[in-house]
Amino acid sequence: MEDSVMESDPAEVSAPAPLHGVADAWESVTAALVSPGGSGPEPGLSDSLALLCAHGLGRLLGGWLLETLQMRLSSSVVPEFWSGLKQPENELEERDRAWVLLTAFRTLLDRLEPFLGGLERLGMWQEEGRGGLCGPGPRGLQERAFTIIRALLLFSPSPVLQERVLEFYSRTFSVYMNQEGQCWCQEALDQLKELSHILSKLQLLEWVSSEAVTSILHKLIEQRMEQHCRGEYECSFLLEFQEWLELVLGWLSKVFASKADADGTTPSIPCTPSAPSAQAGQPGSSILKQWRCHMHQFFCRIYVNMRIEELFSIIRDFPESKAAIEDLKFCLERTNQRQQLLTSLKSAFESRLLHPGVHTSDILTVYISAIKALRELDPSMVILQVACQPIRKYLRTREDTVRQIVAGLTGDAEGCTDLASELSRGDPVTLEMQDSDEEGTEPEDWTPDPTDAVPDKMGSKRRSSDIISLLVSIYGSKDIFIDEYRAVLADRLLHQLNYNTAREIRNVELLKLRFGESHMHYCEVMLKDMADSRRINSNIREEESRLGEEEEQPPLSLSSIILSSEFWPPLKEEKLELPPVVCQAMEAYTHRYEKLKAMRTLSWKPHLGSVTLDVELEDRTLTNLTVSPIHAAIILHFQEKSSWTLEELSVKLGAPRELVHRKIALWQQHGVLREEAAGRYYVVETGSSKEKMERGVMLIDSDEERDSNTTTQSEQREEKLQLFWAYIQAMLTNLDSMTLDRIHSMLRMFVATGPVVTEMDVNELEAFLQRKVREHQLMVSAGVYRLPKSN
């Protein structure tokens, strides 16, 4: 229809004379349309209109008006607007820039208002069907006009507009949020109102301001978050932000509100009865609703982003950072960033935690915090399982992991007290794969795994949230833990002077709840040995004192811990010849024991135990020293002869020279012995002050007092592997040659008892076999192992 406009104009001009009245009529009608006055229908107008319609020109009116608008826009209004906006170059102050912006829009409105009014009027005529007019009505016409305005005005917007608008909005925003009565604040708010008004009237609001408002909001939320939340994990920010967002919405309503009440405040556009004001109010509030959603979404996203970045620290501080975790949980459920969280957390673990510089106990502490924090964050445990996989894998490579965990469980470790308290909660370890028959939960309660769950066989049941179960399952077997605990327990018991085992008994009882009776059986026997030893000791001491009346007192008071060797972990064997006094006392003790327990005897471990003694020198006495038997033996020898060489001592003690050298250091530190030339040691009977000074400086490699008495895990493993050697030899004798995998699977099949094989992976076996090859006990060629020909 618009196309026909172009042709219809010349057609009209070239119209024949009798239609002269038509030209007049056209003239008057168009003038009425464009006149700014918006006067009521003049009497002559209706006639003219009727005349036009009679000549079939009525339908061209709309087209003409729009065409004129378009011409006017492109020829003068738009250039005027842009130049008005740009005209004052940068020297202006912000306040003036705002003014310029507003003025530009004002003039724009002024220029366009007549057309809009005309359109309105024409639309009304059309609707009323005046003079036989028909057409799309005011709405349709205006719609078209606004499209034209938008198209021409914003066809190539200069960046100036965006800049100005952005600046203007951020200024009014800060004014609004601060509500301070500064210089031109009130003015700014008024300007805001007016601008919103103009824009909404021209239906440019969305096009001009959305972008600016969005970027302002984003920037502000980010800024506020940086200032308030970063590094603060101890209180929740959700509510605070909610309130703040409501405040921001108040400003938004100022920006967009005029759209809502536009119809009400501009009487120049009278409401048609078919569009009641209630309906007109709708778009404004729906826009606000939209903005609220958008802001909320945006807030969540920014918050999650920030917290993901900080998650490692949050986890590290966990019990204190619970509020942050809860906030994060809330927001994470509303954004789709789990994957991002997982990747970032994993890499944070890897870069900050899992390197050689971090102590195992620290890794464990963080892991425990992570378990606690992540099970808050994601009750399905999937995040925990996936994110902590690297930690578990890494811990498996650390040698002292088990010992640290056990130490934590027994409350020995400095760092992780959590474990001990966790242990006292006493839930059974759910490590063994329980068959599904004891599925306590209702099938109705089943919830599917999140999509990022690792599809493992066990499904959600396997994902235990129990800290101890998780730690124990690092190795996939309870037995390693029990063995290690046994070793730790043995150490503790042997280092104890009194036979007080209350704490150990408690621990064992708690562990029994976790690991089951049968696993802790050995430990129970160990504790019983302690109690038995105490009884036997007092028994023997009683007998001694009874005899003491007749015979002379025994030379030294000896008590003993008597072990049931089968139930204790293998103890380190060391040779040590004790001085005759001690040996005699031990013999006597054994004698009494044999009397007490028929057909049983004692086998002493001379290097184990502890000795309390006083050393009396000429000018001083060291009292109540507690030392190991070898220390005591050394100093006892010096009692009979005041100088010994290392060689002599080593022969006398039956211990290697290096060991004696190491142990003698203790006495040097105490200033009792002194090393002179040729490796000869002397007793220092009178300590001069010079000596004391030297002693202070002397930092002889002090002998690690709490040396473990039990063989280490790796040594025990070695022994166990040695056990397989017999199997391997037998297999190779029968089957001539085998590959590594074959040997491994055969061992799995035949040596099924005990946990040893299942724990031993192929690599370990390979290392073992390689060593055998180096020792020439085995030959390997092309991946096939065989025994060397014996002849």
Binding site: K528, V581, W604, P606, G609, P629
Partner: protein, 84 residues
């Protein structure tokens, strides 16, 4: 110099005075206990026969109870008599 020992805490392990390491019946070490017991030593003692073979008491009693006709030492098939 004089060294006065106040207290010497030694460590020893007990063992049965027997001429074998394992019980001939249950094949468990004597210093451990028979399969039915939890605690070694007093609670799971050894007994000697006149043939000088010895077993966990619980093991040999079980064995003797299962014998219908004659009570023999499972090792040497002599008649089993407890050594006094």
């Amino acid at each position: 110099m004089k060294v006065k020992i106040r207290q010497w805490n030694g460590v020893a392990s007990w063992l049965w005075v027997a001429n074998d390491e394992n019980c001939g019946i249950c094949r468990m070490p004597f210093n451990g206990c028979c399969p039915d017991c939890k605690v070694p030593g007093d609670d799971c003692p050894l007994v000697w026969g006149q043939c000088s073979h010895c077993f966990h008491m619980h093991c040999i009693l079980k064995w003797l109870n299962s014998q219908q006709v004659q009570q023999q030492c499972p090792m040497c098939r002599q008649e089993w008599k407890f050594k006094e």
